[in-house]
């Protein structure tokens, strides 16, 4: 894997057992992805495994949110003004934002809502929106990307341009604009997921298109055409399997980036709205309190950071497992 390993070491004809035949220069042909091999590599990757455990834990927390708050005996929406120091402008009484047996992670400055409850319910929003948006982006992106990549030059002239423009748009800005004008009757998290999808499907489509175009010119696709296989079967059987590796990597990377998008939108006040809790929203509030109540920055911020790290590390592990030759970090 390192640069100086035999595999890359300058033109040596190594790695072959004596008497074995050459592996002809494979060009850009990807290493055949054996799912088994990928799993083995992923399982052997300690940081990816740790990340996976963390991700699992977070998902569990989000799923068990009502249970956890019941255990704490609090809810996410009740105001506790008696816990706030009105002399200091509404900062919670006690050290570290009022952390204690009643309120495990303290209370919100200004409102006195329970931070733990808001965080576990916020996890539902963050992860739910991010996962839903990722799934939708994949569907939209693969459909448009395949159309552009396999539909011939005329389809590509249109679809390819649309993809380019979709990527050139500053996504969050457009999502912001979209969320400003959509009807308020639809549940906000759904709208946020849709807005994120609307502005972020571009790179899924770009990857799909590029990969499909490159696979389309492979000899084995020509061989299938010569065998008389029809275009639809070629797309499904010869080309789609070759897309799974890059798309799986992209999907894994998309989840953390969509968590960031949701947090960003909520941070800007365009995402999920109170009383529904969201991590980005909490961080947004904390900008006005960071000098008097630093705990309110550290708790949701730290959690968001850990979540993102876990997802990113896992995505990195997926990439390393599926594409062991890649030299990226």
């Amino acid at each position: 894997m390192t640069l100086f390993d035999s595999e890359l070491a300058a033109g040596a004809d190594p790695v072959l057992a004596p008497g074995e035949e050459p592996v002809p220069a494979a060009g850009t042909d990807p290493v055949p992805s054996r799912r088994g091999g990928a799993w083995r590599r992923l399982r052997a990757d300690r940081s990816a495994l740790a990340a996976l455990v963390l991700v699992g834990l977070l998902v569990l927390v989000a799923l068990a949110a009502p249970l956890l708050t019941a255990l704490e005996g609090q809810d996410a929406t009740t105001f506790h003004s008696q816990l706030l120091d009105s002399a200091r402008g509404g900062v919670p009484h006690g050290a570290f934002g009022g952390i204690g047996a009643d309120h495990w992670l303290g209370v919100e400055p200004g409102t006195g809502r329970d931070v733990f409850a808001r965080i576990v319910y916020g996890a539902r929003v963050s992860l739910g929106v991010a996962l839903a948006a990722t799934a939708l982006e994949l569907v939209v992106g693969i459909a448009i990307g395949l159309a552009a990549g396999l539909g011939g030059p005329r389809v590509d002239a249109v679809a390819g341009r649309v993809i380019e423009i979709a990527i050139a748009f500053p996504s969050l800005l457009l999502a912001l604009a979209l969320l400003a004008i959509v009807p308020q009757s639809v549940p906000r998290p759904v709208l946020v997921a849709l807005a994120i999808t609307a502005v972020n499907w571009g790179n899924v489509a770009r990857v799909t298109r590029a990969q499909a175009m490159s696979l389309r010119t492979r000899d084995y696709v020509d061989a299938a055409r010569l065998a008389g296989v029809g275009p639809v079967r070629i797309a499904l059987r010869e080309i789609l399997p070759g897309l799974t590796t890059p798309l799986m990597v992209l999907a894994a990377l998309k989840v953390p980036s969509n968590i960031v998008s949701e947090a960003g939108l909520s941070f800007l006040g365009a995402g999920v709205r109170p009383p529904t809790p969201s991590w980005g929203q909490m961080l947004s509030t904390s900008t006005t309190w960071f000098q008097t109540d630093p705990a309110y920055v550290i708790v949701p911020g730290g959690l968001l950071l850990v979540t993102l790290l876990a997802f990113s590390l896992f995505a990195d592990g997926v990439r390393r497992a599926l594409d062991p030759r890649s030299t990226r970090v």
Binding site: T2, L3, L8, A10, G11, R161, E164, I165, I167, A168, F169, P170, S171, L172, L173, L174, L176, A177, L178, L179, A180, I181, V182, P183, P256, V260, A263, G264, F267, L268, G269, A270, G280, L283, S284, S286, T287, F290, Q291, P294, V297, I298, G301, L304, L305, L308, L309, F311, S312, L313, D316, T327, R328, V329
Partner: protein, 329 residues
């Protein structure tokens, strides 16, 4: 070369036309009446009709779009009641909420956004490319692992979280830097820089992580190429091999990625401005989306789109300047 510029210019205009049409179309396809939004809460039916007429919303959509395009090229007049407001040549619309042409609003805010983005970009390039090169050339050492970790952290942290942490540390605890407020460069360069240090750092750290990845991957790939082996085989010292033969190949992708990522950088800048309360274009966009000031949103989106498209053309020129194999055509 000239041919390239002409083609690029035409393509840019085409992309911008499509972009503006999409933005325009989006806002009109959306349910919800912009006039109602613009008119405000206490708006009677009569006022609504007036507002609608003022905004030109009683015309057919294509006419409105045509007037908009006319405004961009030759300017146009907006009448709000008896008085007529002229909106000069690159007229991106008229904000009735602030009673100013959008172009003026954007120009007022441009120095702030430019200071922030360009400063951060320079910082990010220096930090990112440096870190990327270092981690590629020190493979397998502690330095590499440290940089990989930091890069991953920077890669997965949203800019507002980094901003909050910086604020917490440098403003609240160490008290070495002021809470940023914009001081024009022309007024007091020292204060300009001092106030921008934190926003620069926040934005730069995010982008630096990306540049570090790209620079590292580029360096590793280049070092594995055959021509590097040639110079090693001819006794050229390793330092010279890296400096003369690996660096260019390693840095060529950074130029491209900077342009491609400009959309992301703009989004991050927007978040940074909101985070630190800097009165830039990003903050303008956020404010406009909160108050549903459609002309401003449209204007900002188009400005950002233009920047991205132009940056891509510049990147192509740069790429051709670096790599003699690339022909501008």
């Amino acid at each position: 070369m000239i041919w390239f510029l002409v083609r690029r210019l035409l393509a840019t205009v085409a992309v911008l036309l499509v972009m503006s049409a999409i933005v325009y179309g989006l806002f009109y396809l959306m349910p919800g009446d912009p006039a109602v939004l613009a008119c405000g809460k206490r708006c009677g039916p009569d006022q609504l009709v007036v507002t609608r007429h003022k905004l030109g919303l009683d015309q057919a959509v294509y006419l409105q779009y045509w007037h908009f395009l006319q405004g961009v090229v030759v300017g146009r007049d907006y009448s709000s009641g008896p008085d007529v407001n002229h909106c000069a040549a690159p007229c991106l619309g008229y904000s009735f909420q602030s009673d100013q042409p959008v172009t003026n609003l954007l120009l007022d805010r441009l120095p702030v956004s430019a200071s922030l983005t360009l400063g951060a970009l320079v910082l990010a390039l220096v930090l990112g490319v440096g870190a990327g090169l270092l981690s590629a050339l020190r493979r397998g050492t502690f330095v590499e692992r440290l940089l990989t970790g930091v890069t991953l952290l920077g890669f997965s942290t949203p800019v507002f979280l980094i901003g909050l942490i910086l604020l917490l540390v440098f403003c609240a605890w160490l008290k070495v830097l002021p809470f940023p407020s914009y001081v024009p460069l022309t007024e007091n360069p020292a204060e300009w820089a001092r106030n921008l240090v934190l926003p620069w750092c926040a934005l730069a750290l995010i982008e630096a992580a990306l540049f570090a990845r790209v620079a590292r991957a580029g360096t590793l790939e280049t070092l594995a190429e055959d021509h590097i082996r040639t110079f090693r085989a001819y006794g050229v010292p390793e330092r010279q091999v890296v400096r003369r033969h690996a660096l260019r190949g390693a840095l060529a992708p950074v130029a491209t990625i900077t342009a491609v990522e400009l959309a992301t950088i703009i989004v991050s800048a927007m978040l940074t401005e909101s985070m630190f309360g800097l009165p830039g274009i990003g903050k303008l966009a956020v404010e406009a989306s909160t108050s549903v000031d459609l002309p401003v949103i449209t204007g900002v989106t188009l400005l950002a789109g233009t920047a991205v498209v132009l940056a891509n053309a510049v990147a192509d020129l740069l790429h051709a300047a670096i790599d003699p194999r690339v022909k501008l055509a």
